[in-house]
């Protein structure tokens, strides 16, 4: 279990996160949802260990990781732009970290990851030759082979289009279930958060607006912000579909 206790952060005297308290169970998919500048990426970076917190504690499986370096926390991330190394092939990217941690995964396990993410036909390709969805899967494979204790995803679907988005969404859910991997996702899209996650942490101006399951958020919004930000957007989307295609699709 991951516990965030009284986590606070300021940048240039501006409060970015204010006393955040959350508990995330093992194997859960949790979305950090909020508008731009709400503090969700900062929170993700604090969990990762990239950004140092000002106050509070990060506890994982009863161990205080607040002062543990990013490298030693054992968490891993897929960045929004994937940060793949363009001079290497897809396969070389996937096994990049294994040169530093020999024996971490067996050859069979490695092939399983590759098969699971359907990357076999693309292994020899250079990064520039891959589509957005393929890049995303290579980045996921590269991260998964490092066997992270928690998988962090920064806006994983923002650069993808419709059908690929759905396929990656399903894949993320399968990964979390298959490997019982706690997965924390940053997103600004309410629909994405509601359809992908077990729980959603809605952040506004550095504070938690609501933390709950998608059903709780839809049926019992805590405050006006949640209503406005989440429900209003969904209603507008629904109305647009209704206007275009009628009630059958709305």
């Amino acid at each position: 279990m991951l516990k965030l206790q009284n986590v606070s952060k300021q940048f240039d005297r501006k409060v970015v996160l204010d006393d955040i308290n959350v508990e995330i169970k093992t194997g859960e998919i949790v979305s950090l949802l909020g508008p731009s500048g709400s503090g969700k990426t900062t929170l993700l970076n604090i969990i990762l260990g990239l950004t140092q917190l000002d106050h509070g504690r990060i506890i994982f499986n009863d161990m205080d990781l607040s002062n543990v370096s990013m490298k030693n926390r054992g968490f891993n991330i897929v960045f929004q732009d994937y940060a793949l190394f363009p001079h290497l092939s897809a396969y070389e990217n996937i096994i990049y970290g294994l040169r530093n941690k020999k024996g971490l995964v067996s050859e069979t396990e490695l092939q399983e990851y590759i098969d699971f993410l359907e990357l076999k036909p693309h292994l020899a390709k250079k990064i520039g030759e891959l589509s957005g969805g393929q890049k995303q899967r290579v980045a996921l494979a590269r991260t998964l082979v490092m066997k992270p204790k928690i998988l962090l995803l920064d806006e994983p679907l923002s650069a993808l289009d419709g059908v690929i988005k759905e396929s990656i969404k399903q894949r993320i859910q399968s990964i979390a279930r298959e490997y019982k991997l706690t997965t924390i996702i940053v997103t600004h899209d309410p629909e994405e958060a509601l359809t992908l996650s077990d729980k959603i942490l809605i952040i506004n101006q550095g504070n938690i607006s609501q933390f709950g399951t998608p059903q709780e958020i839809i049926n019992q919004p805590n405050n006006d912000f949640v209503k406005e930000f989440i429900l209003k957007q969904l209603q507008i989307k629904r109305q647009n579909i209704y206007n275009l295609f009628g009630e059958k699709y709305a």
Partner: protein
């Protein structure tokens, strides 16, 4: 950006120390020495220099000729860049312009003067072809011609690069809006380039104002600041304190010029998008600019033609039979081959170490969150401002009594510092465009910071590193002004040896040595271009 690591601090401290000892301290010493008099400290050195008729005249001459050079160079460079970017002239002509313009950069400036003498002198190649003396070469005319040839490549590269960032779609829009040719030209080409044109003017001015090679060879009795400084320092009675004053005064236009360059940068337009459009057909424009630009290139290169002919003739221009004796005598002279080896050694070490220093500086600035990293930008501004002669002189003053005096080390260090700005900016520009998450990703995949730099950052910036190496190498081979105060009989280099050979009127040797520099630089340039191309194909 990755968290600050101990390795970053160590590298930063080393670089900081290097520039403190080999840039700030020498310049500080120079400044202090300029106030040092027999009676202690005071401004009497400045008063004596400012009241000296010769020096005032030299300053006036330098300003006058540098301004004229800057005007001519900017117009010519703009014409060439316009022909390359905004016309549909025959593509091979464009390639010739872009390649030919770079040739003078592969030669020391001191050679330009001798090439002018052998082309336009009484018995010169071009004088023979035209059948008469075209003009008096020693003094103003020769200097002006030399400076224009020297500054044209740099000004062209600057303007040509800016042309790439001009959205030519606006030419079409302007035409569609009913603008006449002149109005369209002014609004869509000149206006967006104003900052760059100003920059080209300032750059040409600074380069000519601070160059020593050209006036050393063809200046005659037309004194300029650089020759005055040389005379004061290495003349019959060296006067270090007055030399320091002249160096400080020489620094002023350069400082002013760099500040002006930074201001002019703001005038440049920045388009959000660039569209690739077909240029409008205009036969008259293409023919005219094709002829003009070809003429400029031919005129410029024809000056150097003699350099490729004279050393292979028995006694140019009197006995025109072919011979290899001049070339062979250079290779048989152990002294001159040793000097060539010295130059190679200095250029290779400068290129390797300089690239390392500039690359490390750029990586610290562009890709870490180190506190104080912006000091590297200040350093690069200073190295951009300080002329080679001033830096060399400041080394002479500071390290005169030290064990560094008369060593290759001091020459290499002087070159590294003197040419630091351009390679540093190349690397910074390239590194800042790369994905900012690579170091974090590398760390999460088990790499140390240094290892990620080696495994990821370096391979992805290999092309820039090769370009930096090439820049450092070529400039180290051709520089005269930077090292003229630092070389000794044991550490003599080809470019400085050419200056010595001038006293003995050994022009064949001068040209053969110049050819050696040219061929070496050309070889390195082609080799680097090949590796760069290979890199881009692999991507």
């Amino acid at each position: 950006m990755p968290n600050v690591k101990i390795e970053m601090r160590v590298i930063f401290l080393s670089i900081f120390l290097l520039f403190t000892v080999f840039l700030l301290l020498p310049l500080g010493t120079l400044f202090v020495r300029s106030f040092e008099t027999d009676q202690g400290f005071g401004i009497s050195n400045y008063l004596s220099i400012l009241s000296s008729k010769d020096l005032n005249e030299a300053f006036g001459n330098s300003i006058k000729i540098s301004s004229m050079t800057a005007v001519i160079t900017t117009i010519l460079a703009f014409t060439l860049a316009y022909a390359v970017n905004c016309t549909r002239i025959y593509r091979p002509i464009k390639t010739v312009i872009k390649t030919g313009i770079l040739i003078p950069m592969l030669l020391p400036t001191i050679t330009y003067g001798f090439a002018i003498m052998y082309s336009f002198g009484n018995q010169g190649l071009l004088t023979k072809i035209f059948g008469r003396n075209l003009f008096e070469i020693y003094g103003f005319n020769g200097l002006l011609m030399g400076y224009v040839i020297y500054t044209l490549p740099a000004a062209f590269l600057l303007i040509n690069n800016s042309f790439k960032y001009i959205d030519k779609k606006f030419i079409i829009v302007s035409k569609l809006m009913g603008d006449g040719s002149l109005r369209s030209f002014l609004n869509t080409i000149v206006q967006p380039l104003l900052g760059t044109l100003g920059g080209a003017f300032v750059l040409s001015f600074i380069l000519s104002f601070t160059d020593f090679g050209i006036p050393a060879s063809v200046g005659g009795t037309y004194y300029v600041v650089a020759t005055q400084l040389y005379q004061v320092m290495l003349g019959s009675i060296p006067d270090f304190n007055n030399g320091a004053v002249i160096a400080i005064l020489m620094l002023l236009p350069a400082v002013f010029g760099v500040l002006l360059l930074n201001y002019l940068e703001k005038l440049n337009f920045h388009y959000d998008k660039f569209s690739n459009i077909e240029l409008i057909q205009h036969k008259c424009r293409d023919i005219c600019l094709g002829i003009i630009s070809s003429a400029i290139i031919v005129a410029m290169l024809s000056v150097f033609a003699v350099m490729f002919i004279a050393p292979f003739l028995n006694s140019f221009p009197y006995d025109l039979t072919f011979t290899l004796k001049h070339v062979l005598s250079i290779f048989q002279s152990s002294n001159l081959t040793d000097i060539y080896k010295n130059s190679l050694l200095v250029a290779v070490l400068t290129a390797v170490l300089g690239t390392l220093v500039a690359y490390c500086s750029a990586i610290l600035n562009a890709r870490t969150s180190l506190r104080g990293k912006s000091t590297i930008d200040i350093v690069s501004m200073i190295t951009n401002t300080v002329p080679g002669m001033v830096l060399g002189l400041s080394y002479l003053l500071l390290f005169n009594g030290s064990s560094l005096k008369g060593t290759f080390t001091i020459i290499i260090l002087c070159n590294i510092v003197h040419f630091f700005t351009t390679p540093y900016l190349m690397a910074k520009n390239s590194l800042s465009k790369m994905n900012p998450s690579w170091e974090t990703t590398g760390e999460l995949l088990g790499d140390s910071w240094i290892r990620t730099v080696y495994r990821v950052i370096l391979p992805n910036s290999a092309s820039t590193v090769i370009e930096m190496f090439s820049y450092y190498f070529i400039n180290s081979m051709v520089t005269v002004s930077g090292i003229i105060f630092l070389v000794t009989a044991q550490t003599s280099l080809v470019a400085s040896e050419i200056k010595e050979l001038q006293h003995f009127a050994k022009f064949n040797e001068i040209f053969v040595l110049s050819l050696l520099i040219f061929v070496t630089n050309l070889f390195i340039k082609l080799l680097c271009d090949y590796f760069q191309k290979k890199q881009s194909i692999n991507r």
